[in-house]
Amino acid sequence: MMRYSFFIGCQIPSRVPQYETAARAVLKKFGVELADIRQFNCCGYPMRNVDKKAFLLSSVKNLALSENQGLDMLVLCNCCFGALKNAEHIMAEKGPLQDEVLGKIREMGLDYQGKTRIRHYLSVLYHDTGIAAIKKQLHKTYKELNIAVQYGCHALRPSTVTQFDDPVAPSLFDELVAATGAKSVDWTNKLECCGAPLIGTNDALSADLFSRKREAAIKAEADFFCTSCPYCQIQFDTVQQMLVEDNAGQKPLPSILFPQLLGLSMNIDSQTLGLGANKLDISKIESYLSKDKE
C-alpha cells in the first residue's frame, strides 16, 4: 500500500474542487492511500515573484510537516509541485536565507532535512502504478478521441530540478492518455506555457498565449485539452469561457482534467468526477467511450 501526504494547494479547493474529488476516486482504485495534513499552507508559488523568504518558508514548512510524519508528498498542482521542488533545490545549498528559514521552521517545533520525496500525481500513476495496472482497471476505452495534452511548465522545467520527464520530448502524460484508448495528438505549442502566470498582471499577453495554444490544438484536430494542473485548467476552462463570451461566434475547445478522463474509463460516475463542475461543457466526452477494450 502506497501512502502519501496529499497536497492540494489553494486553487483546487476554491476553484477546481472536481480535480480533488476525481483524483481521490482514481487513486483509491489503485490502492494509493492519502493522508490529509490540515496544517499544510500555500506552497509559496504566488509569492515567489516578490518575496523569496515567504516563498521558501511556505514551501519548506509543508515539506517539514510531511517529513515529520514520515510521508512522501503527492501533489496535484504543477505550480505547487514546481515551487516545492525549487524550494527543495534551494535548501540543498547553504546560505544565510536557508539558515533563517530553517531557524523559523525549528521555532515551530518542526525539522527539515529534505527527506520527503515530492511526487507529481502523474508520476505516481506512471511510475508506481504503471500503465499495465492502469489498463487492468479500465472498463471502457475511448474510441476516436483526440486529446491535446498540456504538460505544464512547472512540472517539466527546470528539468534538473523537477526531474519529471524529458523536458524536450516528454512522453509520460501522452502514454497515460493513450492508455485510455484516446489519441494524444502532436501539436505545435504542446510544451509551452498556458499563460496563467500572467492572469491579473498582464491579461492581454496571457490571453494571446492561450489563443495561440488553442489555435494549435484545433489545427491538430484535438477534441479536448487535457490538463494536470489547476492553473492550466482554469486558463483553459474558466478564462476560455470569458474569452469566448467576448468573441461571439468563437467555438471553445473544452478542457478535461486527466483524472476525469481516466476516471470515466474506469467506470467512476461522472458526479464523483465532477464533470458538471467544469465551466465549459465536457459531457460529450462520454460519447467517445466504448465497451470493448482494445
Binding site: P46, N49, D51, P158, G200, L205, T238
Partner: protein, 590 residues
C-alpha cells in the same frame, strides 16, 4: 436608588448603542463594489429581502441555520470539541442565568407559578448555570493565556470580554456564598419571617442554621445539644422551609461560604455583602451598557450573519444587501482567530511580520476604514499588503465559526484599498491571479490602475536607463558591480547565443518585442555581465516573465536565466519595500 438609576442608565445606553450600531450597518461600506445607496434605501431593501425569505421555502434553511448553527453552534463543534464546550457553557449558562436569575421575577415567574429564587430547583440551578459560565471562562483563559497557540492573537477587547464575564460570575458566587454565612442576613430574615418567636426559639433556629445552613455566628456556640437543634428544626420547618431550600442545594455558593467562613464574621460586619452586591450588579450593568460597543455585540451580529449567509446567494444577492451584510460581518467577528490558525498565507506573515496578513487581524482596520477613519500612511500600506498577501484559497471562509463570508469581504475591501491606496508591489505577483479572474467585475478604467501604480513604484526610476541613446559607462560604480555579483552569477557564462530570447514565448508574442519588453532575456544577461544591474531592473521583461523556464532549460551555457529574473524582481521590489515591514512599530489599531 443606585441600583435603579444605574439599571435605567445602562438600559438606555444599551438600547441607544444598539440603535447606533444597527444604524451603521446600513450607512457604512466595506469595499469597492456595489452602487452607493442611502441608508434608508439599504434598510428597506434588506427588509424586503428578509420578508421575501420568510415567505418562501427558504424559511426552512433559515430555521435550520438558527437551530444548528446559532443555538447548537455546529460550526464551532466542527472546529474543536473543547472550544464548542467552552462556548456552549458560556452561552447557555449566561442565557439561562439571564432569564432565570436576572429576569427571574419577569420571565420565570410568568412561566412557573412556584418560582422563588431560594427554592429548588431554582436555587440549585442558579449555581449550576453560574458554574457553567465559569467553567467556560476558565477554558477561555487557558486557551488565550496559557496554551501557546501560534497566531492566536489576544486583543484588549478579548481580555475585556473574558474579564467582565469573570467579574460578574465570581462576584455572584462570592455574594451568595457570603450571604449564606451572614449573621446580618439571617437576623433580617428572622425578623421579617419569624419576628414573633421567643429569644430562645430564635437562638435554637440560629443554632440549626449554623449547624445545617452554613451560617457563621458568634452568638451561638458548638456543640449544639440535640433538643436545641430539634427545636430549631421545628421553627425552621414552620417559618423558613416553605420558602428556603437547603443551603447545600446551592452547592457552589455553599462551598464558597465554607471557604470564606473563617473570615465571614469580620466580612459581614464590614459590610462586604453590600459591597459585593454593588460589584455584582454594577458589573452586570457595565457589561450591558458597553455591550453594543464591545465584541459581545456578536450575540446579535453573529446570528444575523450566519442566517443571512445561509440564505443569500452570492451571484443573485443585491449589491446593497451584500454591502449591508459585510458591515454586519465586521461586527460578527469574535476574534476567535480560527481563520488565522489555518490561513494558507500564514508563512507570508512569518516572513514579513505584518500582522494584517492574518485574516483575523484585518477585521479591526477594515472596521476603522468602513467607519471613515483615516489611517496613517504606514497603517494603510500595512493593511493593503496584508489584504493582498492572500492566496484566495477560501479556507478562512470555510472554517469561520461566525459564518462570515470572508472571501467576498476580502475581494471587496481589497479593491477599494487598491484603487485608493498607495502602490502595492505584491500586485505584480501571481497573487493577482484571482483579481484577474474577476476583472470583468471591475470597471475597465479602474482595473489597470493598481498595476500601473505598482509598476511606477517598482520600475519607474530605472526606466530612463533603458534609453537606447544613452551612453553607457562601461566602468560602472563599484556598488553596482557588487550588487550584481551578490546573487545568481551564472549570467557570466553567457556567450550571447540568444537561445533564451528565441525560445521565450513572451518575446515570440510580439512583433516589436524590444519596444514592449525593454530588454530581451539575452540582453538582460548581457547587461548584468556589464554590471548594469539597474538597467536590467527597469526592463518590463522581468515582470512579463511567465516563469516557464524555457530560457533556462535551453541555455547551452547553464545560465539560470529564469532564476536571475526572479532575483532582479526581488531587488526591484526591495527598493519600495523598505520601511514598510515593521508597521507595528508605528502603533497598531487594536
Amino acid at each position: 436608588m443606585v441600583f435603579t438609576v444605574s439599571l435605567y442608565a445602562s438600559l438606555i445606553i444599551f438600547f441607544l448603542g444598539l440603535i447606533y450600531r444597527g444604524g451603521t450597518w446600513f450607512q457604512r461600506e466595506a469595499g469597492f463594489y456595489g452602487q452607493k445607496m442611502s441608508a434608508s434605501e439599504r434598510f428597506f431593501s434588506a427588509l424586503k429581502s428578509m420578508l421575501a425569505v420568510i415567505f418562501s421555502t427558504k424559511i426552512v434553511t433559515l430555521l435550520q441555520a438558527f437551530v444548528l448553527d446559532v443555538l447548537l453552534q455546529r460550526k464551532i463543534l466542527k472546529e474543536s470539541v473543547l472550544r464548542w464546550a467552552m462556548h456552549m457553557l458560556i452561552f447557555w449558562g449566561f442565557i439561562l442565568l439571564l432569564f432565570m436569575h436576572a429576569l427571574g421575577r419577569i420571565v420565570t415567574d410568568a412561566l412557573f407559578s412556584n418560582y422563588e429564587p431560594t427554592l429548588n430547583p431554582y436555587f440549585f440551578l442558579r449555581d449550576l448555570f453560574g458554574l457553567m459560565v465559569l467553567a467556560g471562562v476558565v477554558v477561555a483563559v487557558i486557551r488565550r493565556f496559557f496554551l501557546k497557540i501560534p497566531r492566536l492573537m489576544t486583543s484588549s477587547m478579548d481580555k475585556y470580554a473574558i474579564g467582565i464575564l469573570a467579574v460578574i460570575i465570581l462576584s455572584g458566587f462570592l455574594l451568595s456564598g457570603l450571604k449564606i454565612t451572614s449573621k446580618t442576613e439571617f437576623s433580617n430574615m428572622a425578623e421579617e419571617y419569624a419576628g414573633w418567636l421567643s429569644d430562645e426559639e430564635l437562638q435554637a433556629l440560629e443554632s440549626y442554621w449554623v449547624s445545617d445552613y452554613g451560617l457563621v455566628s458568634s452568638d451561638v456556640t458548638r456543640p449544639f445539644e440535640a433538643d436545641v437543634l430539634d427545636q430549631g428544626k421545628q421553627a425552621h420547618e414552620s417559618y423558613c422551609a416553605y420558602c428556603h431550600a437547603p443551603a447545600k442545594s446551592a452547592f457552589a455558593s455553599y462551598s464558597t461560604g465554607k471557604v470564606l467562613s473563617p473570615a465571614a464574621g469580620a466580612m459581614d460586619r464590614a459590610g462586604f455583602v453590600g459591597i459585593l452586591w454593588y460589584i455584582h450588579f454594577l458589573s452586570c450593568f457595565i457589561g450591558l451598557a458597553y455591550l453594543p460597543f464591545s465584541k459581545m455585540l456578536h450575540i446579535f451580529s453573529t446570528p444575523v450573519t450566519i442566517m443571512a449567509n445561509a440564505v443569500m446567494d452570492e451571484k443573485k444577492s443585491k449589491p446593497e444587501n451584500v454591502a449591508t451584510r459585510q458591515i454586519i460581518e465586521l461586527d460578527a467577528c469574535t476574534h476567535c482567530c480560527t481563520c488565522s490558525l489555518y490561513c494558507s498565507a500564514m508563512m507570508g506573515y512569518e516572513a514579513r511580520q505584518n500582522t494584517y496578513i492574518l485574516p483575523s487581524e484585518k477585521i479591526a482596520p477594515l472596521k476603522a476604514l468602513a467607519a471613515g477613519r483615516d489611517l496613517n500612511e504606514a497603517e494603510t500600506r500595512a493593511i493593503l499588503e496584508g489584504i493582498y498577501l492572500c492566496t484566495n484559497c477560501d479556507r478562512c471562509t470555510v472554517v469561520c465559526p461566525s459564518g462570515i463570508n470572508l472571501r467576498q469581504l476580502w475581494l471587496n475591501a481589497r479593491e477599494k484599498l487598491l484603487q485608493q491606496g498607495p502602490a502595492e508591489p505584491l500586485v505584480l505577483s501571481q497573487l493577482s491571479f484571482v483579481r484577474g479572474l474577476n476583472r470583468k467585475k471591475t470597471p475597465a478604467d479602474s482595473y489597470p490602475l493598481p498595476l500601473e501604480k505598482a509598476d511606477n513604484a517598482v520600475s519607474a526610476k530605472y526606466r530612463p536607463l533603458l534609453d537606447p541613446e544613452r551612453s553607457i559607462d562601461l566602468t560602472p560604480p563599484a556598488a553596482d558591480r557588487q550588487q550584481a555579483s551578490g546573487f545568481e552569477n551564472t549570467f557570466s557564462y553567457c556567450f550571447g547565443c540568444q537561445n533564451c530570447s528565441t525560445v521565450c514565448p513572451v518575446v515570440g508574442n510580439y512583433e516589436d518585442p524590444q519596444e514592449q519588453l525593454g530588454l530581451l532575456p539575452h540582453q538582460i544577461m548581457c547587461s548584468l555581465g556589464l554590471g548594469l544591474t539597474e538597467t536590467a531592473m527597469g526592463a518590463k521583461m522581468i515582470w512579463d516573465c511567465l516563469t516557464c523556464y524555457q530560457c533556462q532549460e535551453h541555455c547551452p551555457q547553464n545560465v539560470n536565466v529564469t532564476d536571475i529574473l526572479y532575483e532582479l524582481k526581488y531587488m526591484a521590489v526591495a527598493g519600495v519595500d523598505e520601511g514598510r515591514q515593521n508597521h507595528d512599530q508605528a502603533g497598531g489599531l487594536r
